[in-house]
Symmetry: C2
Subunit: 152 residues, 2 copies
DNA sequence: TTTAATTCCGACCGAATTACTCGGATATCA
DNA sequence: TGATATCCGAGTAATTCGGTCGGAATTAAA
């Protein structure tokens, strides 16, 4: 029942991206530096975010990433599901249709799993990236400029 | 973010145990047979349930297991935590105390993880074993006698 | 008093997943 | 034509998962 580093790093990366990409695209390298995440690993995560349609890429020099949608339209659930796959702790066959299970206790547990799944998804879907970004800006002053990241 | 077979099998085993242990203790062997779970694996799970104080064992021939508490006093959360360990998808240091995080976005994500953890634990704790057992009995007729399980 | 049923305990094991790294191809701005 | 970037796929060490196996200890029944 653990959330992997994909989800944990990825959410931080998205907040970082939202904070710094207002003017110019943000490079993976600069996010990695600020967030102390391995650059090559972060690359994989951002690829997933892109495939999910949450960020857009701009290739070439001075390129980077920007959000594909306004922060109010991106939920924590969208981000986590993009990175982790389904957040359902139990993937059950025939959740919706009234599928008759073999044993009655299996059927009963199915309701349990569904309630857990629903509770998680509801919780993450009602939190929007906008709220997190706003909160983050309140904590420290705004630094909207993305310092180009150090070379190696 | 997956619940392992420990939790899934274990919950079914607890329902089974509650259904069949009213008169006599129930053997692992018979639970394994009814629930189609490997006997030797189930042994490990029941050991965890025992250590958590949810079931009591009666050793020797005609022995087995019985619930240690009334079904109304055992929550799904108790069972799952006994088997899986903490259900918190993210284990965060210093959740309670106002620990100042290094970066503001880390602090912000901390609130996210806390809300997810709370939502899961609340959901599983408000479901009691009693409800599941009652529901299970409604589905099919009651078979309170534990047929001694087939030998190998 | 033996025997069969049963819990108890720890070691082992293959397969999958996690959390990365690395090397290089491709695109694009200056 | 470089220097920056994204893109992409393969490799890999460590850990977890989902069990199995063998045997010791306990106790009811024959």
């Amino acid at each position: 029942m653990k959330l992997s580093t994909k989800g944990r790093y990825g959410l931080r990366a998205m907040i970082d991206l939202a904070l710094y990409s207002e003017k110019d695209p943000v490079s993976i390298c600069s996010i990695a530096e600020r967030q102390a995440i391995s650059e090559s690993y972060l690359e994989q995560l951002v690829a997933k975010l892109k495939k999910a349609g949450l960020v857009k890429s701009i290739r070439g020099a001075q390129g980077g990433y920007v959000l594909a949608k306004p922060t109010a339209d991106i939920s924590v659930g969208d981000i986590l599901r993009a990175l982790e796959g389904s957040l359902d702790p139990v993937e059950c066959m025939g959740f919706d249709e009234e599928h008759v299970c073999s044993g009655s206790d299996i059927c009963v547990t199915k309701h349990v799993w569904k309630r857990i799944n629903d509770s998680i998804n509801q919780t993450v879907d009602e939190m929007k990236l906008k709220e997190l970004v706003d909160e983050s800006r309140q904590v420290r002053g705004i630094e909207p400029t993305d310092a180009s990241c150090s070379q190696k």
